[in-house]
Assembly symmetry: C2
Homo-oligomer: 489 residues x 2
């Protein structure tokens, strides 16, 4: 690790505070007498946080200052409506909870009054599969692998792979506009949604299932990214696709991140629509994919169920070569340096749980910015975070998604923790990153959502009349303001 | 004509009521003393209607019951803000007006109190072109051909071609979610919008310019389709692209519309993304493209700036052949039967002006529906409209756009007019069509917007809590309710 990151950890392995030693604030409200509600301390503890570093760290130290007062696990919409009715009458905040993988404080009942964590994972079924239209009606609490396990019997896949894939739910993806690692085209879950059904305190919000519409403002697009503030998503019709039968991938080396970025811009603007177009800077290539730190690495991949993708790949590589790219081979599937990266990528949600113990502070943040600003943006953000780190630690960058008009850069920050002061240290890094991203022209988040952690920058980023409109919309469907207060509005 | 449509017109050519014979209701309010406002009768007349048949017919007969009381033509945002402030203080409705090509009553001040038509066509400039990110900042009142004339100097195009292209504006496209005749992918202007700037009575609503974002509900997606009810769009950053250098097109014949539809479904689901994939039923192929009525006709086309499209076309035609498709040749550009269709298509906005004079009643309506429902949907809608026509006239269908999960069918209705009673006759057809579309599972509009004419079905189609949310959003930014009352909410 030292050779790669340039800093050493102190070698001390700290033990976490065990769950039974945690002292929880007593519940401020008793759960309603419903069989699917519980105030068990273990349930309250495991529904307090998401998976941000500051969440992991606080859990590690046994700090659970803002747990939900109880947890509800509705078995169906009927149960769910009973909770909402009770909560509205009792003035209790309702925080929807899917896989609990928010990295932005989206599921933490932070500084709320009495609250219930509404765990939706019992809504876990595929209700219909339409093999003619290639769509499926799926309940919101279903986990990624369960969805695909069901669809594989039909030869289909949702093909939406956020990094949290194994631990997160369809409803969570929709509420947060998750990114699913199609590098182009259907980058967000937004593009895969055909219709959404949600329960609001003022009734059922269910859109008509059609392949496209121009009937006024899109009802689905108002729920996408609503983060539980407008309604509780219970199911959706989503677009699925045949499992890919043809694949080609190559790991292309570039002499610098800048040269690689130019290649990605050219490929993005060529109309080839690669499924994978992930560019790692030299440090990240070294850290995750066996690079030696002298080159940037582009994982370029095409896939299709219908036809061989050679023509697409050939042209993509021609464009890469014209920007100084070199590669060893084109593989028909995964593996190679791309495979090494993928393994690291999917292990990350598990690995990160170890950071607190080993004294590593880690932050990842992501954004999107237009190509004309990218070079200056990258320099400004990297510089600002380096300054916040005080000369130690490492800042790397990759492109997670790419568009004709700009990339979605993803930054990883690793540094030696100030033991005992990690949350403050993390907050300093986060603040520096957020300020730099906003000032240099990015969005505060491309696919991690806003939650509570991004509010300071989100509030500055969004237009004021839009904020007022969103508040007006919320007041109309949630007049008591019980739905996930503190996120968005 | 008779041979094709199966009915004869009476041959009588009626003359329209000339503008100077029109008796307008006197203005109910005097315009503010601003140099860009006028209550000239000619201006009021030409800002009363859009281009629906019922608009043309009423204008033809000199019926102008609901003209705006005056017309304002702001030269810049400063002027525009003065109008909005004056209107809010005076309780006067503001109806934004771009090219005036609404076919759904979107620009008609129908049954409003005092009103001003806010003509935005003086906001007609390209403000910036970003050749690196492929984007341009364009004022909302600019017409389609003017936009492309400006961009051609940069080797770029917006490539958004609604049928009204020559007469309509960027702001109108955004407010109504116009379809631009990319058959797949960027079907609506929505997909080309990078950011929007609008003026509301509560300030400027301007989103950040980024290639993608997941920061909460999208502010742009709330303005897209807002039809002037939330704010007046003044400019937008839009995604542009290099002008295509490579093209291939073929006119493929199918023994029936159903076989052609199956071919289109297969092609849509193959991930080939044709730029043109327009299927005409046998009657429409005969009417517009030189068909003999025995075959359906698919115009299949691919285009790219970056690379030859042979591999794409070859596979598209293979799929067409597997569904019984035959063709004579693949052309490198347009022309042929596709060219004949395109000529008719672009002439249509002019031709339709003649319908009232020759005693023809005409209606076009469009929708989208999932593939699993399409066959039954097509039969139900065609049958219902035929019934409404009472055994005379013709109903044809084409696919205007297509998605992996369903097509966007476009219906054309032509019949002999009941002279003097055409508007009632048209209303009957419209009512039958709207009812059938909604009952059989379509959307009341895929790209013509809601306006005032589609309200009865739109109100039933949209979820009630969403309607309440939209009303709440409007109340927040337009508390006096002056912005285009009657559309959407």
């Amino acid at each position: 690790m030292t050779a790669v990151t340039g800093f050493t950890l102190d070698g001390e392995i700290e033990e976490p505070v065990p769950p039974d030693a945690v002292r929880l604030p007593p519940p401020r409200v008793a759960p309603p007498p419903l069989p699917f509600c519980t105030a068990e301390p273990y349930e309250r503890i495991t529904h307090t946080y998401g998976k941000a570093y500051r969440d992991l760290m606080r859990a590690f130290r046994g700090r659970f200052d803002n747990p939900p007062d109880f947890v509800a696990r509705p078995r169906d919409e009927h149960d769910l409506i009973r909770v909402l009715e009770w909560a509205e009458n009792s003035g209790v905040a309702v925080v929807p909870y899917g896989g609990g993988t928010s990295v932005v404080g989206g599921v933490e009942p932070r500084d709320l009054g009495p609250s219930v964590s509404l765990d939706l994972t019992r809504l876990d079924r595929v209700l219909e599969v339409d093999e003619v239209s290639l769509a499926a009606r799926i309940q919101a609490g279903m986990l990624g692998p369960d969805i695909d396990r069901h669809l594989v019997a039909h030869g289909l896949t949702l093909r939406h792979f956020p990094q949290s894939y194994e631990l997160s739910t369809l409803g969570g993806w929709i509420a947060t506009r998750a990114g699913g690692h199609f590098a182009t085209l259907a980058t967000h879950i937004d593009d895969l949604v055909e219709s959404i059904r949600a329960i609001t305190p003022r009734g059922v919000w269910e859109s008509r299932r059609v392949p496209g519409s121009g009937a006024g403002v899109s009802p689905d697009r108002m729920l996408l990214g609503s983060e539980g503030a407008l309604g509780v998503i219970t199911e959706a019709w989503v677009r699925v696709r045949p499992r890919p039968a043809h694949r080609a991938s190559a790991a292309v080396r570039f002499p610098s991140f800048g040269r690689g970025a130019e290649a990605v811009r050219t490929i993005s603007q060529a109309g080839l629509h690669p499924s994978n177009c992930r560019l790692l800077d030299p440090a990240e290539a070294r850290l995750t994919s066996g690079g030696d730190g002298t080159y940037a690495l582009l994982m370029l991949g095409f896939e299709a169920a219908d036809h061989p993708v050679d023509a697409w790949m050939d042209r993509g590589l021609e464009l890469a070569r014209s920007h100084g790219g070199t590669w060893d081979e084109v593989r028909p599937g995964g593996g190679g340096q791309g495979g090494a990266w993928k393994d690291t990528f999917l292990r990350m949600p598990y690995l990160r749980n170890a950071y607190p113990a080993i004294g590593l502070v880690a932050e990842t943040f992501e954004t999107a910015v237009t190509w004309d600003r990218f070079a200056a943006f990258h320099a400004a953000v990297t510089g600002a975070v380096r300054d916040a780190l005080g000369g130690t630690g490492i800042v790397t960058c990759r492109f997670a998604f790419t568009y004709p008009d700009g990339p979605a850069p993803y930054f990883t920050v690793l540094a030696r923790a100030r033991r005992g002061d990690e949350v403050a240290q993390w907050d300093e890094i986060k603040r520096a990153a957020g300020e730099a991203v906003l000032t240099a022209g990015g969005t505060i988040t491309h696919h991690h959502a806003v939650g509570r952690d991004h509010r300071p920058w989100y509030d500055r980023q969004r237009p004021d009349p839009f904020a007022a409109a969103l508040r007006g919309a919320k007041d109309a469907v949630d007049p008591a303001g019980i739905l996930n207060p503190g996120v968005l509005v």
